[in-house]
């Protein structure tokens, strides 16, 4: 806001604003992750999972922009993961399985979304949870197909036709996760700045106005829902390819809760928030589990409590307020 605008009549309380160089922060963050993965090799696995979850949490962020919380979003992650588990023996190519998992996640999102975008708030949350639990039950009970809670071991994968050794494969998976995180992050950022993305935020505050502008709030939410499901599916394929073992636990409600947890921890103010949250979540989990094996959930809970009480904008909010404070 310019000085002349601040003086303009009609404005009650001008607010200072400063555009943060998000692209620069994203590149710096990516470089830091690569450095960490190089310096501490065993962190590659942890960071790959964190990036994959960050991609899934980007989907949660979209729905949060519309004021909706999904407590069942890990069902899309499970769809992506089981796509890899089921198809890897026949189609071992990771670069084919990845878009296939995202596509199937998106298709399920479209089918569910057509029905679920009619609902708001607690009904939206609970219907997502209920549907994810239906999927969980199917994965658990259809033993002949899914091997129940034993899960499915993902068979050997090829990457662009090659079968890399274990160390190289870890780097390839890490690189793939990082590339997808950056790619989806850019897409989400562009989407949120588009008329559709702005209208999505309007669902949270002024849905009536949207309708009286001739805009279907349901269609706007459906697009976001399918987009988030695509990201959930892609995240699931990354998880399956990294862990090489897929179980129904992926669709369980606690897994969905974990995604919401990460979204709040990271903050919904930017596409970088989910990755900040996911990295912090995985690192705290690993180190807390090593330090106090029986009480690591308590430490995670404590961290979230502190964030909610003292940094409601999440880690992204903390970071931006510090950066703005310095400027």
């Amino acid at each position: 806001m310019s000085a002349s605008d601040r003086d303009a009549p009609g404005v009650a309380a001008p607010r200072p604003s400063m555009r943060l160089p998000e692209a620069g922060l994203a590149l710096a963050g990516a470089a830091a992750l690569v450095l960490a993965a190089w310096a501490v090799p065993w962190l590659k696995f942890v960071l790959t999972i964190a990036l994959a979850k960050g991609v899934a949490v980007l989907g949660i962020l979209l729905l949060l922009r519309a004021g909706q919380v999904s407590f069942g979003h890990s069902m899309f992650l499970a769809v992506g993961a089981y796509t890899v588990a089921f198809l890897a023996p026949a189609v071992p190519e990771a670069l084919l399985l990845l878009p296939l998992g995202a596509l199937l996640g998106g298709l399920l999102g479209l089918v569910i979304g057509l029905f679920i975008v009619r609902y708001r708030d607690i009904f939206f949350s609970m219907l997502n949870l209920a549907l994810s639990m239906v999927l969980y039950s199917l994965l658990e009970k259809l033993y002949d197909l899914t091997k129940g809670t034993d899960g499915i071991r993902v068979s050997a994968l090829t990457f662009a036709g090659a079968v890399p050794d274990r160390e190289t494969q870890e780097w390839v998976m890490f690189g793939l996760a990082l590339a997808l995180a950056l790619g989806f992050g850019l897409l989400v950022r562009a989407y949120l700045a588009s008329p559709m993305g702005r209208a999505l935020a309007g669902i949270k505050t002024r849905e009536t106005r949207l309708e009286f502008m001739g805009v279907s709030a349901r269609r706007v939410l459906l697009f976001a829902y399918v987009f988030s499901a695509v990201m959930g599916g892609a995240a699931g394929t990354l998880v399956a390819m990294t862990t090489r073992h897929v179980t129904p636990q992926l669709a369980y409600w606690t897994s969905s809760g974990e995604l919401v947890f990460i979204a709040i921890l990271g903050g919904a103010g930017s596409a970088l928030g989910p990755f900040l949250g996911a990295t912090a979540f995985e690192l705290v989990r690993v180190y807390a589990a090593a330090a106090v094996a029986d009480a690591w959930q308590m430490i995670l809970g404590g961290v979230l409590l502190l964030v909610i009480l003292f940094a409601p904008g999440g880690l992204w909010g903390m970071l931006t307020s510090r950066l703005r404070g310095r400027a």
């Binding site: 806001m1 310019s2 002349s4 605008d5 303009a8 009549p9 009609g10 404005v11 009650a12 309380a13 001008p14 607010r15 897409l187 562009a190 989407y191 700045a193 588009s194 008329p195 559709m196 993305g197 702005r198 209208a199 935020a201 309007g202 505050t205 002024r206 009536t208 106005r209 949207l210 309708e211 009286f212 502008m213 001739g214 805009v215 279907s216 697009f223 987009f227």
Partner: protein, 274 residues
Amino acid sequence: MSASDHRRAEAAGDPDRPREATRAPLLSARGLRLAFGGVKAADGIDLDVMPGEFLAIIGPNGAGKTTFINMTTGYLRPQAGSIDYDGQPILGLSPRAIVKRGIGRSFQLPQLFSEHTVLENAALAIAAHAGLWSPLTPLLRPRYREEAMALLDRFGLAPLAEARADALNEGARKLADIAMAAALQPRLLLMDEPTSGVAATEKMGIVETLVRVLRDTGVTAVFVEHDMEVVERFADRVAVWSQGRIAALGPPEQVLNDPAVLRDVIGIEPAHHA
């Protein structure tokens, strides 16, 4: 041109004068009935709105004024009656479908996207009207930015373009709300109390801006209003709502001098007014 200027032009045979008598009504409501429990919000409303006119709706709280706007814009469905717009029935259509036919509305409580700037609010309305919903091109692309700035300029809001909508005072919020409705290029604009909550010192300036923009763009307007000075100065006709019925309808100088209207609606004794 104020409403009284319009009426004078009509009397003098001005070729630019409104020609309501020779035209079909733009909006025609017949026999509208709607009750909430025992409360009759609409009890046989018959009303024609002529193209180009400014019709003020006055009446006490709870008389059914907003209900009429809600029924016309598809937000509420009457239990009986019909509403035709431009000769076509619109009853049963969704608010979205009605907006697309050319009826816009503003709200008693401005419905701005509070987390966005005034410019973004205007650009979003323009984008909605254009129907361009590419998910990857920015809202504030040059075309929308220019159109939005031009719109805000017409409403005198250009200096506030970069202010967040929730930082505006009530007068600016009301204007921005109406500007968003105007961005959809309606032929008929329904405004629910466009001056309520606005400081007395700002009120006339806001209404003058509003009327100038709407007259320039040929928009027909129906507005709910409590300020009789605004009604007298800017309305071509006045409809007096009372308990879900239209108690009086006519030019402001006739209706606002009706002793029953003065006593029951405005709340003053006719002798004092004279």
